[in-house]
Each structure stands twice: as structure tokens, then as C-alpha cells.
């Protein structure tokens, strides 16, 4: 280790000396060329200083945090049981739409679904133990997308189309629910008329972004300064439909509990029991 450090220091010194002693290129006599050379050298000096610091400070390879890895593995195994019902419900929908799958295809799908459960659990566990916060992360997406990919390779075209149609309809239902939850929150705070509810609901539908739904889901019950989180991300869609006194109230609300106060974090809510036991049809 000591010899490595000494050799690094020597190398850094040699490079610094080389840089400073390099004769100026022809034509650098003019002022502009001199400035360019000076700027280039300043960059090089900065780099050399960094190298020098690295040479002086002991540099170890990033330590493999075995304890953290073990915690992640352990947590992931625990999380798998929470995610299995998601797989089971997705398999239920797949069975209703792709009833013609042969036994071999079924086993292929279940195997990819089981892997997806493990992957989802591991990703959640990794985020819980010091990973980056990722508000957009949803473990259901991993399980559903892997299952859809697997189905695409083995299902008959018409059955695959039926499955995809049901998935699209489910997404549309979820979006509608989230839009209505958002309008209901506005109504609670701003006392909308029935006409305003309809107008804002329609405008939200046209401009809807997936991320808005996630915020409604994740921060449904959060309160900041005694207010629920203001859906100010949709302000351009909402404010044209408000009366002047409602606009004032809306602005106060956004100042007191704007969505930027929610922070960025990864969370996932387990909504209770679903289809717990494996369906024997998939093992036949």
C-alpha cells in the first residue's frame, strides 16, 4: 500500500513538472493563445491536485457492505410473501383471458412471475436499506410487466389481445378513480358546485399525467400545516374553473401545503388480503 502511494505521488509530481515545463506552442506569443494555454493549464493543475490528494489519502476499493447485503436479502425474502398476492391476482386475470394456455406455457408464465416477485421484493428491500429514493417506483409494475412479456411469447394472439385489453381497462379505471379522488379533495377544500366538479374532472382527464395519480395514491392522507397536500401540479387545469374567492383559497392552500413539500420517497402500501393461495390450474 505504501509503495503504491509513493509511486502515485511520484507520478503526479512528474506529470506536474512535465506540464509546467512543456514549452509553449508556437504562436502562443499572442495574448489570446496565452489565455487559452493558461486556462488549459489551470484545468490540468486542478486535475493534478485531485490526483495528488488521492495519492496522499489512502484509497481503498469501495468496501462491500456485506451486512447491508444480508439485510437486503433477508428483507427481500420477507417481502416476497407480500408480493405473491399481486402475482396471484395477475395470474387470475391472465387465466380469465388466456384460458387456452397449455400446461407447459402455464409453467413458463408462473416461473417468470415468481422471478418477478423475487426481483420486486429485492428492489423494494434495496431501496429500504439506503438505496436512492424513487417515488415513481411501484413493485406491481415489475410483476405485471414481466408476466405480460411472458404471456406474449406463449399465448394465442386473440387471447393475448384480450388480456391486454383488460389491462388497459384496469389502468383506465384506476386513472378515473384517482382523478375523482383529486376532484373530491378540491371539493372538500374549495366547495365546488356540481358543474365545477364535472368541468374540472373533464379537464383533468384530457391533461392527465401518470405521475399525478401516483401523488394522489401516495399522499392521500398527508397533511401539511393542517391542509391536505395541494394538487398544485395540476394548477393550470384547475384554476380556470374556479370562482375568484375560490382562487384566493386555492392560492392560500398551495402556499401552505404545496406538493413540493411532500418530498421524494419510495413507498408502497399493502392493501390487505387478496388471492393468497396458488391456483392449482397453473401447475397442471
Amino acid at each position: 500500500m505504501a509503495s503504491q502511494t509513493i509511486s502515485r505521488m511520484l507520478m503526479t509530481g512528474a506529470l506536474a513538472a512535465g506540464l509546467l515545463l512543456v514549452p509553449a506552442a508556437r504562436g502562443e506569443d499572442d495574448e489570446q493563445a496565452a489565455r487559452q494555454a493558461a486556462a488549459r493549464d489551470a484545468k490540468a493543475v486542478g486535475w493534478l491536485l485531485r490526483q495528488g490528494l488521492q495519492a496522499i489519502l489512502p484509497i481503498a476499493e469501495p468496501p462491500v457492505d456485506r451486512q447491508r447485503q444480508q439485510q437486503i436479502e433477508q428483507r427481500a425474502r420477507q417481502m416476497e410473501r407480500f408480493f405473491k398476492p399481486i402475482l396471484e391476482s395477475e395470474l387470475e386475470l391472465a387465466r380469465r383471458t388466456c384460458g387456452g394456455l397449455d400446461p407447459k406455457a402455464r409453467r413458463t408464465i408462473v416461473a417468470s412471475g415468481t422471478k418477478a416477485v423475487e426481483e420486486a421484493a429485492r428492489q423494494v428491500a434495496a431501496r429500504q436499506f439506503g438505496g436512492r429514493a424513487d417515488a415513481a417506483f411501484d413493485p406491481r409494475d415489475i410483476i405485471r410487466s414481466r408476466l405480460a412479456e411472458s404471456l406474449a411469447t406463449v399465448a394465442a394472439p386473440e387471447e393475448l389481445a384480450a388480456y391486454r385489453l383488460e389491462v388497459e381497462r384496469r389502468t383506465a379505471r384506476r386513472d378515473e378513480s384517482e382523478r375523482l379522488l383529486l376532484v373530491a379533495r378540491l371539493d372538500r377544500q374549495l366547495d365546488l358546485t356540481a358543474a365545477q366538479q364535472r368541468a374540472i374532472g373533464g379537464a383533468l382527464e384530457k391533461a392527465w399525467e401518470d405521475d399525478w395519480g401516483r401523488v394522489v395514491r401516495e399522499h392521500g392522507t398527508r397533511r401539511i400545516n393542517s391542509y391536505p397536500l395541494a394538487p398544485d401540479y395540476a394548477s393550470a387545469v384547475i384554476t380556470p374553473h374556479l370562482e375568484p374567492d375560490q382562487v384566493t383559497e386555492w392560492e392560500n392552500w398551495c402556499r401552505a401545503a404545496g406538493s413540493n413539500m411532500a418530498g421524494n420517497h419510495t413507498s408502497w402500501h399493502f392493501h390487505g388480503q387478496g388471492l393468497q393461495q396458488p391456483d392449482p390450474w397453473w401447475g397442471q
Binding site: A34, V45, E92, L93, R96, E166, L181, S226, G274, Q277
Partner: protein, 308 residues
């Protein structure tokens, strides 16, 4: 040749000096931080978080807190507020109610004036009632670290609950406002008002149903037909939701879920059994049983005018 070399050395020296200066800046910032920390340590709000001013907490819990939640503010060395927010708060409540009526059924200026007068009378009675309790707590400080202080906090909460109930009923049945409203509206206006209330109730019930069904989608793997089967059954059985602002302020997904499952439990089970797979039906029937078991709890929450 001399110029560029000199420039290089100038740059190098400048870089080194810059580094030294930035280190100094860091030290200066650290020194500033030290000063801030020293200030915080002197702050009485940090020193005595267990001392609670009930006068300050009265207004915070009655007028600033939504629903049935509680806030507990430590002593920040602020005096108890003297001016009561009761007038401003109840007048704002009244104005919202009046605006809603006006937009629903188009009242005349004379009707509006009479309703405003009735409202003001109700507000004055409410404020008089609340001020008696508020005055009791003005300037009173309790120590939450001792049992006597904790006991006083519980008594304070009971008083706040009574004031909240009183506040929720300012313009309800038995108030002068409700009496005047019933006597001055013509038939068309009454119909409009009833229709607006019904639309509002239906909207909020639909929101609850779709929210719970989105979760059932995740839990049971429903297709569109199955979803519609359950959704229609729930929408047909719309309960008598209370639609005053206080009830709607209860933004509680757990309450909504239990309420929807309770209503679902009252629907014809055979249609669900026929429309769902045995596994789905098994899971749904367990949820319906849960909903049935929550009936008395839901009744206690006061979100329904009457149980279905």
C-alpha cells in the same frame, strides 16, 4: 515566452490562494453555524417542549385542525391570543354555506339578507358559548411531564370535542338559519337545493366506490365485467352520506374502505358468487364479512345520517 509562463504561475498561485480562501469561507460558515446552534439552545421552545399553553392550543385545535385530529403545540413563549378567531371562522363557514345555496337555487337579495341575519344570530350564540370555554383556558399553562398536567390535557380535549360538535351544528336543524331557510324558499328553490345535495352525495359515494374497487382490482384480478357487477351493486345502494363540510373533511381511506365493504355486505351475495371465480369469491366474501363487522364502528363515526 515570458508572458505565458508568468501567467501560468499566476494561475497556479491564484488556484492555491483560492483554495485557502475557500477553506476560510468554510470555517466562517462553520462559525456561523455555531452561532445559530447557540441561539437554538437558548430558545425556550426547545428548552421547554413539555410546557403547553392551553390558550394557544385551544384555537389551534378548534379552528385550525380539520376533522377529529389533534395538535399539541409546545410553549414557544408566546402569550395566549386574545382576539378570538371564532367570529371569523364561523362567518367563513356561513358564507360558504350561503354561496352553495345561492349557486344551487339562485336566492333573491331579500332572501339572502334574511338568511344572513339568521346566520349572524346563530354565529353570535355559538361564539358566546365557545368563548366561555376559551376564556377558561386563556393563559393556562400545563406541564405534560406530570400526571396532573396530562389529566388537564384530557379535560381540555373533552371541552374541545364539545365545541367541535357545537360548531358542526351551527347552521343545522334547530338553528335559526335552518328555520328561516325552510320558510323562505319556494318549491322550485327547494327542489334545486335537494337536487344539488343529492348530486353532491352521489358524487362522493361514487368516489369512494371507485377508490375501493381500484384496490379490489389489485387484490382480486377483476376483469371489466366483474368490476361493473360489483360497481353497479354498490352505486345502487348509495347510503345516506352526510355531506356537510365537516363530515367530508374526514379524508380517511380506511373509513371509506370499511363503509363501502359494509354496503357491499348488504347486497345480494349470489350475484357475486355467480360472477366471480371461486377464489375471487372466497376473498371477496371475507372482505364483505369484515365490512359487516364494522357496522357499529361506522355508525359511531357520524358520516351517515342513518345506517342502510
Amino acid at each position: 515566452m515570458v508572458g505565458p509562463v508568468t501567467d501560468r504561475w499566476t494561475m497556479l498561485i491564484a488556484a492555491v490562494l483560492g483554495s485557502l480562501l475557500s477553506l476560510d469561507a468554510v470555517r466562517l460558515e462553520a462559525a456561523d453555524d455555531d452561532i445559530v446552534m447557540a441561539d437554538i439552545q437558548e430558545d425556550p421552545s426547545v428548552r421547554q417542549p413539555h410546557m403547553v399553553n392551553l390558550g394557544t392550543n385551544f384555537d389551534a385545535n378548534l379552528f385550525e385542525q380539520h376533522g377529529n385530529g389533534w395538535v399539541l403545540r409546545g410553549d414557544r413563549g408566546e402569550p395566549s391570543p386574545t382576539a378570538s378567531p371564532a367570529f371569523a371562522y364561523s362567518r367563513a363557514l356561513g358564507r360558504r354555506q350561503l354561496d352553495r345555496i345561492e349557486s344551487a337555487c339562485g336566492i333573491t337579495p331579500e332572501q339572502r339578507q334574511r338568511l344572513l341575519l339568521a346566520m349572524e344570530s346563530d354565529i353570535r350564540r355559538f361564539v358566546a358559548d365557545v368563548e366561555v370555554v376559551r376564556e377558561k383556558y386563556r393563559g393556562r399553562e400545563i406541564n405534560m411531564n406530570v400526571p396532573a398536567g396530562q389529566k388537564q390535557w384530557l379535560a381540555f380535549q373533552q371541552d374541545i370535542r364539545r365545541c367541535r360538535d357545537r360548531m358542526r351544528g351551527i347552521f343545522k336543524e334547530g338553528s335559526l338559519f335552518a328555520t328561516v331557510l325552510g320558510s323562505i324558499l319556494d318549491e322550485r328553490q327547494r327542489d334545486c337545493l335537494t337536487a344539488e345535495a343529492a348530486a353532491r352525495r352521489t358524487f362522493h359515494w361514487r368516489v369512494m366506490v371507485l377508490e375501493v374497487l381500484a384496490r379490489l382490482d389489485d387484490a382480486l384480478g377483476l376483469d371489466q365485467t366483474q368490476h361493473d357487477l360489483i360497481c353497479d351493486a354498490l352505486l345502487e345502494r348509495e347510503p345516506a352520506l352526510r355531506i356537510d363540510s365537516e363530515s367530508l373533511d374526514r379524508d380517511d381511506p380506511n373509513l371509506r374502505r370499511n363503509l363501502v365493504l359494509m354496503v357491499l355486505a348488504g347486497a345480494d351475495r349470489s350475484q357475486f358468487q355467480a360472477g366471480l371465480s371461486p377464489r375471487q369469491w372466497q376473498a371477496l366474501s371475507a372482505l364483505m364479512n369484515q365490512g359487516r363487522a364494522m357496522r357499529s364502528w361506522i355508525d359511531q363515526q357520524g358520516v351517515l345520517d342513518e345506517l342502510p
